[in-house]
Symmetry: C2
Subunit: 148 residues, 2 copies
Amino acid sequence: MVKSLTDIKEKLLSANLKATHQRLVIYEALLQEMTHPTVEYLFDKVKVNNPTISLGTVHKTLDTLVDAGLVKRVSSTDQTKRFDANLEKHNHIYLENSKEIVDYHDEELQQMVMDYLAKKKFKNIKIKEVQLQINADKLEADSAIEIK
Amino acid sequence: MVKSLTDIKEKLLSANLKATHQRLVIYEALLQEMTHPTVEYLFDKVKVNNPTISLGTVHKTLDTLVDAGLVKRVSSTDQTKRFDANLEKHNHIYLENSKEIVDYHDEELQQMVMDYLAKKKFKNIKIKEVQLQINADKLEADSAIEIK
DNA sequence: GTGACTGCAAACGGTTTGCACCTCA
DNA sequence: TGAGGTGCAAACCGTTTGCAGTCAC
C-alpha cells in the first residue's frame, strides 16, 4: 500500500503533473496516513524535513491532487478540509466508544447496494458511488478489530 | 412532518430552552427545509419576515438546538456548517454539482444492509446503525429531486 | 426582577489570491 | 527557455466572541 518515491513520481507524471519535490513529499505524507488528515497536520508533518515549505503550497498541492483524481476529499463535521489517499471504495466503521475510525472494504456489499439502487427509479440524479457509515461500539477495550 | 408554531414552542420548552421569537422562526425554517441548509441560507430566509435578526443569533441558535438534541449537524465537503431537523434514521444523497444534501428514507435498504452485515463475523464490535452516503450529480439544474 | 438571549461589531482561523521568483521538463 | 509551481503576505469569508441592551419566564 505504501508507495516508494519513484512510484509516487510516476503517478504524478502520468497525471500530467510536474513531479516537484513539494508534491512528492506531500503526497507521500498523505499516503502514509491511516486517518484523514487536515492540511495543517500534513503541513506540520512535511515541514520537519522541508522547513521552507509554505502552508499555501500544501493547500494548492492537495487541491491539485484532488483535481487530478489522485486523492479524495472526505466529508467531516469540522470546518477544515480533510483528505484521503486511499482511492479504493471503502466504508468506515465509526467506533463510538473508542472514537476510532476503521476502514471496511467489502466489494460484495458495495455491489449489492449499487444493484439495489439501480433498480429504484431515481429521477434527475446520477449516482456515482455509495459509502456506508457503520456506527458501532467496540466490545473489548484493548482488543484489535477483526473484520470478516 | 412540518410542525405548527405551538408544537415548536412546546419542543423548545421541553428542552429547557426559552421559546424566543428568533428560536421559533429559525427552528421552523429549518424544519421546512429538505436540503440541509447552511447558516447563511437560513439567515436570508428568516430575515424576510424578521429584518432585525442577526447572523450571529442564527449561529448561536443552531448551536443551541444541536446541544439540546433537537437538530443534527450533518457532515459536508464544503467548509460551511449544515443542519438537519430530521432526527429519524435516514440516508443522505450528496449532490456534488449543486452542493445540496437530500434525505433518502428506505427501510428496505436499511434492513438489507443490516441483514448482510449480521451474517458477517465481526469480532469485537457491536453494530448499532448504518447510514448510507450516496454521492451523485443532479442532472437538470433547476429540477426538483424525485426519489422513488 | 433576573438570568438568559439578542444584536452588533470586532476578532479569529482556515482558505484563497496575487505576484515576484524559481524550477522542472 | 518557458510554462507552470512555490513562497509570502494580504485578502477573504464563515464562524466565534464580548458586551451592552432586551426579553421570556
